[in-house]
Structures are given as C-alpha cells and as structure tokens.
C-alpha cells in the first residue's frame, strides 16, 4: 500500500509538472473573452444607395463617385444605357468612432446634399448587444434655375430633408441585415396629391461570397406614395468588390437618384418592365489624420 501510494504521488506530481510546462499560458489565465464590438458589417458606409451599419473611422476621408447609366432596355442604339450617365461625387469624413458626415453633388437636378450619421448602439460579442442602431439625417438643395415664373419661387422650395434609423445585425461573418425606417420631407411637391412627408421602410443586406466579394441588396417599401404619379419602390442589387484601397460597388438598379429624397420620391423606372440601369460606386479611402 505504502509503495503504491508513493508511486501515485510521484506520478501525479510528474503529471502536474508536465502539464504546467506544456501549457505555461494557462497559468496566467486564458485571456478572458472581452466585450468586443462587431466591426466590418459592410465593406463600405453604404449598402448600395442607403447608409449602412458602418461608420468610417476617425481621420478617414472617403471619396465616393457614384455612377448610373441609362436604361438597359434602351437597346443597342443607346448602347444598353451606357450612352447616358448621371453621377454624384461626394466626400465623407469620419469624425469620431461613431460619427461621420458627408457632402455631395449630383448631376441629376444639379443637387447638393449633405448628411450626418451617428451610431448610438454598437453590436458587440461576449455580453454585448446583438444589434446596432444608427441615425442618419440629411438635406438636399437643388440648384436648377427656376423655370416656372408664374408662381413665386421661394428658396426653401429647393430643399428636401430626410431622417432615418438604421437597425441591423451582422448575424454571422458572412451575413448582415439591416432595416431602415425612413421619412423624407419635401418642402415643395409636384402636385397636391403628393405627400410632403413620405414614409418608407428599407431593407439592406450583404452576403459575403469571398473575402473580397459580396452580394448586396438594397430595397425600400414606401408606405404612402402618390399612387397616381407612377413612381416605384427603389431596388438595387449588386456586388461589392474590394481591391486594396478601393471598394467597387457594381449593381443594377431602377433608381436614378443618388440621395434619399430623390430615390424615394422620384424613381419612375420599373424593374418588371426592364427599366433598369447599370451603375457603379467607387469608394476610395484616404487617411487624412493619422492615429497616434
């Protein structure tokens, strides 16, 4: 008995020592899983046309060129839409971890626009929230000359505004989904039947196909459109391709406009008729202020 127990002790001591030597790191305690914010829900700060869950980082300037060609069903004569193009050029700036602003100008209606986006809640792993909540708000100003001289043209008639909540979650490494309840206010509407305040709910999603490629969908359902004016709900489907410093968003869309007011209230093209356009967004990031 004594001999046996002695052996046992030796064996156990040996095992303990062996174990200790094998895994020194476990002696200081495994790094406890810390609360970790979920990053990179989208490759860019836009799904395609909408604001995404992402906020560009502080000190970064994102130069964005948005391009929409003409309707594909224009046929060979219109070179499948490539003969016509509208664009928006914009600059976005990351101010803090949760706040970004941007300005842009579109050729469509010679419109200027600006926005701010703020992340109130940030999805996190290990005991954090399962979703993120952001707010975006912006305004637009058309600089077209007044053509209707029969009425008094107010400066405020050129303006439109929007407010949006973005609620979404990066459910897995490859799949992100977000909902965007939105209100658009137009100071001047075309007819009495058009609502000044239009409500809509958007859905945006990303499915990662590879490390540098994803499939994106961006759609809005408008709650109170003017049924008589022939406008449609905007839908964009496309791919995000990331190459080093650029993100290319190649897509098909029925929305000509490239700010919230225009694509929600002035989209007349219809997917079911084949009135769709090819378009691309190019995003190029510049670190204008270096991190310490």
């Amino acid at each position: 008995m004594k001999k046996n127990s002695f052996l046992l002790v030796v064996m156990i001591s040996f095992l303990v020592r062996l174990h200790a030597q094998d895994d020194l790191l476990s002696l200081v305690g495994e790094d406890k899983p810390k609360k970790e914010f979920v990053e990179y829900a989208f490759k860019s700060s836009r799904v395609i046309m909408s604001h995404s869950l992402e906020v560009i980082r502080p000190g970064v300037m994102d130069f964005r060129i948005l391009h929409r060609f003409g309707n594909i069903n224009g046929g060979a004569y219109e070179f499948f839409g490539l003969d016509n193009a509208t664009m928006r050029m914009g600059f976005d700036f990351g101010l803090t971890r949760n706040l970004m602003i941007g300005i842009g100008r579109s050729t469509n209606k010679k419109e200027l626009d600006g926005f701010a986006k703020y992340r109130l809640l940030h999805q996190a792993k290990q005991g954090g929230l399962p979703f993120s909540l952001l707010f975006a708000g912006g305004g637009s100003l058309t600089t077209l000359r007044n053509t209707d001289t029969t009425r008094k043209n107010y400066f405020s008639s050129r303006m439109g505004f929007y407010g949006q909540a973005i609620i979404g979650s990066k459910l897995s490494e490859g799949f992100t989904i977000q909902l965007m309840p939105t209100v658009v206010h137009r100071n001047l509407v075309p007819t009495v039947n058009d609502p000044n305040d239009m409500f809509a709910v958007g859905v945006g999603s990303r499915l990662k196909l590879s490390r540098r490629l994803s499939l994106n969908i961006d759609y809005y359902y408008r709650i109170n459109p003017n049924e008589a004016d022939g406008t449609k709900n905007p839908l964009s489907v496309g791919f995000d391709i990331e190459t080093g410093g650029h993100v290319f968003q190649l897509h098909f869309t029925n929305a000509v406009g490239m700010n919230e007011k225009v694509f929600l209230t002035e989209t007349t093209n219809d997917w079911t008729n084949g009135d769709i356009q090819f378009g691309f967004n190019i995003s190029r990031s510049f670190q204008i202020k270096k991190k310490k």
């Binding site: 046992l8 303990v16 200790a20």
Partner: protein
Amino acid sequence: MKKLFVIIAAGLVTTSSLVAQDKYFTKSGRINFMSKATLENIDANHKSVTCVLDTKTGNMQFAVLMKGFEFEKALMQEHFNENYVESHKYPKAEFRGQVVNNPEINYTKEGIYPAKVKGTLTIHGETREVETTGNVVVKSGKLQAAAEFTILLSDYKIEIPKVVKDNISNTVRITIDCSLEPLKG
C-alpha cells in the same frame, strides 16, 4: 487510505509551489511588425501580448490576439483582419518554445544575457519552426526579454493578391519586447 490523500495533497502542494516560483510573466508585452515595400510600409503595434517564461526549464510561450494589432491607417487594420490573417477564424497567434541556452542565463544575477530561442509559431492556423537570438536583461527582480526575427507570409498561407503584390512584401520583421514579472503561485 487517509494517509494516501495526505501524501498526494502534500505532493501536489510542493510541486505546484516549487514550479510557480521560477516563472515570470506579462500580459502587456509589446510586439511590432513591420513590412517594407516600395509603395508604403506596413507597421503595426500590439501592447497586450501575453508571455510566460519558466526560468527553470527555459520554456517560453507567447499568445497574441490578432485583433489587438493597431495600425496607423484604419483601412490597413481592416484589411489585415478581414483579408489577410482572417482574425475571426484564427483569433490567436501563439509561440511555444524554449530558451536553448537556458543554463547559461543566471536569472538571479543582474546582467544582460544573450538568449537563443527555438520553437513553433502558429499564425493563421499554420505552424512553423522559428529560431532567433535575443536578449534577456535581469534587473531588480524583473526580466526584460527582447528579440527580433523575420517570417514569410507565404509560410503561414497568408495570401497577397496579385494586384497589390508590389505594395505588400512577403517578408515581415517582428520585434518583441516584454517586461516579465515573477508569477506568484
């Protein structure tokens, strides 16, 4: 039987306490990695590296959370995590090895000792043998461990896409600097 337990318990206590006295550790070690290329340098720092050294056996281990590397450019950091090391799949890098010339280092006497370290490095789920020489500085009951070595990204199956091949070097220089304190059992 009672006796047996006493003996086992005594055995456990003595062994573990004996072992613990020779160990040094840190959770705030520093690692820098630097990759030089014609277009731009890629430079990142980590400030919370875990390192444990058993001075008795010379065993040395490091653990690094990949997401903890901080870059000057936010986009670089995103690409590092998302596209290169895939930190969501491989959150940790580890080194397990030994100070080969451990008997030559007198951990109880202040001084600067050259140390030869050999072991396996696991990054991006790939494990490779690495070997380097560094320094151990023994001063006022603490150890300062520093070393520098280079690795090839291709060894760890970290792919560089063809379009950016000229911008990113396959060779990465890793500099380690850890201040180790005695680990109390």
